[in-house]
């Protein structure tokens, strides 16, 4: 999962990015509304966390322009916490609204919920065959037995499970598992898929030659 954080306070941006990376997300950063809008239009993020008060374009403006093109889930984050601000944010097309100071656990939970809902899942636990993925605890069980996964492996698995029933291209996987600062090795995805098959069963992830991968298709 790849997030974009748009926040003009450098320290706040660093903190949020660090926290979200700690949750296993690939995180891109933008320090103002213009940069944020550019990135949000350029890349299909799974979620955008966006401050309201920013130079160039404020959060509402960014949201308005983004919504003309894309349905990416947006969580507005702001120090302004008046009811009318929240209403304006939600009416402009924000999917959630969180006031500063934020509790990082709450933020993480809301981010998870928003991503989950964007893919049409009501609960954090997703079961595909014998595999049970708890997206909130980020744990995976096979036939009731916990299976330890590494960060990128889990991220890849969750992305595939959230998009289960569809073919996921390698480009998509690269785009959603790495942030703008990563320089991924080209066969990294193959390595992760290989490891996941070893842990979850050979048939769990199906390869579609020349097209990509799928789960539960």
């Amino acid at each position: 999962m790849r997030l974009l954080i748009v926040e003009d306070e450098p320290d706040m941006l660093d903190t949020l990015a660090e926290a979200m990376r700690g949750e296993g997300y690939a995180v891109d950063e933008a320090a103002d509304g213009e940069d944020g809008l550019f990135k949000a239009l350029e890349i299909d993020y799974d979620l955008i966390i966006c401050d309201v008060m920013m130079p160039v374009h404020d959060g509402f403006e960014l949201l308005r322009r983004l919504r003309q093109v894309k349905k990416t889930p947006v969580l507005m984050l702001t120090a302004r916490n008046k009811v009318q601000d929240r209403i304006q944010g939600l009416d402009t097309g924000a999917d959630d609204y969180l006031a500063k100071p934020v509790d990082l656990n709450e933020l993480a939970a809301r981010v998870r919920a928003l991503i989950r809902r964007a893919h049409g899942n009501a609960t954090p636990v997703i079961i595909v065959g014998e595999v049970e993925i708890d997206t909130s605890a980020q744990t995976v069980k096979v036939a009731g037995q916990p299976v330890p996964l590494r960060g990128r492996e889990y991220a890849l698995l969750e992305f595939c499970v959230q998009h289960r029933g569809k073919i996921i291209t390698r480009t998509q996987l690269y785009e959603h598992l790495h942030d703008e600062n990563d320089t991924p090795i080209s066969n990294l995805v193959d390595v992760h898929v290989f490891n996941l098959r070893k842990k979850l069963g050979q048939d769990f992830i199906v390869t579609h030659r020349g097209r990509g991968y799928s789960i539960g298709l």
Partner: protein, 467 residues
């Protein structure tokens, strides 16, 4: 509340009632007196008629019969045949019980010649006057008398009680009319008071609603010319100013909270992150650095807010003679290391200028202006500070050749928490209070601060302080 006896409506009603009563009493008494005089005049007319009848009778009978020599021979006089003729008119009138008149005739020596009817016992002969008919009121009797040229006195009288009935009925009428007028007057007064008070009540109700929290509402002003319209207008103006002040206050508080919330958010999030799982020493150092930076920012903000509060109350600060040029030099020395680091050249043109101000406040103004100039200037730019006297004022100018301020920001530059777009970033971030503090301080000192800026050419701040 409007029914309380001390309400204006009741007071107007009371005054109105008292005044009306007074007028009616005066009117009633006057009317009564006029009517009384009228009745008396009618009475006098009747009495005069009787008197003249008596006089005619006396003349007809008396000329032939009256013996000039024995004036007091009453018996002889009574025996005269003319007597019954003279008595006749009085007997005729006496037969009327509603007009029980009497008459008496005196000889010229004062001896009673004739006395007919219910003559009061206290009746005395009028003192001698001219020949004209005269009248008097004596002990409840109205009398008309006349002296004949030789000196006989004829008097006709009647008790005044004969007009009592008329006067009483007249009084009843007057009182009746007055009562009706009073009642109508009171009702009219009540109506008028209501009409006069209605706008006041509207105003007070609207004012109550407004002071109850609906600060956006205004008192409806129908006629701006009337006194009440003017009052409503004044109140509306006051409410507008109050509303603006409240709004400014609310905005200020909200801005201050926002400015404080950002560093607090950073501290809270960073510490939460640091405590959530074991991390490297470098990560912890970074957390501590960020926390320190945030705390420092809060500290600066608190200082600024305090300074602003002080500046708001600045009018009370003690004034002294402040050497503007010396203070300028001092502040220039403070900022010099920072300027040199940024490769900004400082120039000064400090001619002696004294102002009456508070040295700390002036120093704060200088610090903020110089600090801003150095902060926003690019390497290679120049900052010039100059002081001089002009028309008894001390003038301070801080000019730079920096990036300048876009024209659209200039009107807002001195607003609290206002930050020109782009000035809110990593290198120059501030709370947006520096210039607001300057303006508040300058104005508290009775001075003026102005700004001129050309985009990409530079900015000049000029402060005028009273000398």
């Amino acid at each position: 509340m409007k029914w309380l006896p001390n309400s204006i409506r009741w007071r107007i009603q009371l005054w109105h009632g008292v005044l009306l009563l007074l007028v009616l009493v005066v009117f009633g008494v006057t009317a009564w007196r006029l009517q009384y005089n009228n009745e008396i005049r009618i009475l006098d007319g009747r009495l005069q008629l009787l008197l003249s009848e008596l006089h005619v009778g006396l003349a007809q009978g008396g000329d032939a019969e009256q013996p000039p020599e024995p004036p007091d021979d009453v018996a002889m006089l009574l025996g005269l045949p003319a007597m019954p003729r003279r008595v006749e008119p009085s007997r005729r009138t006496n037969s009327n019980p509603s007009f029980p008149h009497y008459h008496r005739i005196w000889w010229r020596d004062g001896i009673v010649k004739e006395s007919v009817g219910a003559v009061p016992t206290s009746l005395t002969r009028p003192s001698k006057r001219g020949a004209a008919v005269d009248q008097r009121t004596q002990e409840g009797f109205r009398e008309v008398y006349q002296f004949t040229p030789p000196g006989e006195c004829l008097l006709v009288g009647v008790p005044e009680s004969v007009i009592e009935a008329q006067m009483r009925s007249f009084a009843v009428q007057v009182v009746g009319v007055c009562t009706v007028v009073f009642a109508l007057g009171m009702v009219g007064g009540w109506w008028m008071a209501s009409r006069a008070i209605a706008p006041i009540r509207d105003i007070s109700e609207a004012a109550q609603r407004i002071s109850g929290g609906h600060l956006k509402e205004r008192i409806p002003v129908a006629e701006t010319e009337s006194e009440l319209g003017q009052l409503a207008g004044l109140l509306n103006d006051a409410f507008t100013r109050l509303d603006a002040a409240f709004e400014q206050q609310a905005r200020f508080t909200s801005d201050a909270a926002h400015e404080l919330r950002t560093p607090v958010s950073i501290i809270l999030a960073q510490t939460q992150l640091a405590l959530s799982k074991p991390r490297s020493v470098e990560a912890h150092v970074k957390t501590i650095e960020m926390t320190r930076r945030s705390a420092q920012r809060m500290q600066e903000l608190i200082e600024s807010l305090l300074m602003l509060a002080k500046a708001d109350a600045g009018a009370e600060a003690e004034r002294e003679a402040v050497q503007l040029d010396a203070l300028g030099r001092e502040n220039l020395d403070h900022i010099r290391p920072l300027a040199e680091e940024k490769r900004i050249t400082l120039h000064d043109d400090l001619t002696p200028a004294t102002c009456r101000a508070h040295a700390g406040h002036v120093s704060q103004i200088l610090t903020n202006l110089l600090g801003n100039a150095v902060k926003y200037c690019r390497p290679g730019d120049e900052v010039r500070i100059s002081t001089h006297r002009q028309n008894g004022h001390a003038i301070l100018t801080v000019a730079d050749t920096g990036p300048g301020i876009p024209a659209e920001h200039l009107p807002h530059l001195f607003e609290r928490f206002y930050r020109a777009e782009g000035s809110r970033n990593r290198s120059t971030g501030g709370a947006g209070l520096g210039l607001a503090i300057c303006k508040t301080l300058v104005e508290a000192l009775g001075g003026r601060i102005t700004v001129e800026s050309d985009w990409q050419k530079g900015t000049t701040f000029q402060v005028t302080l009273p000398g």
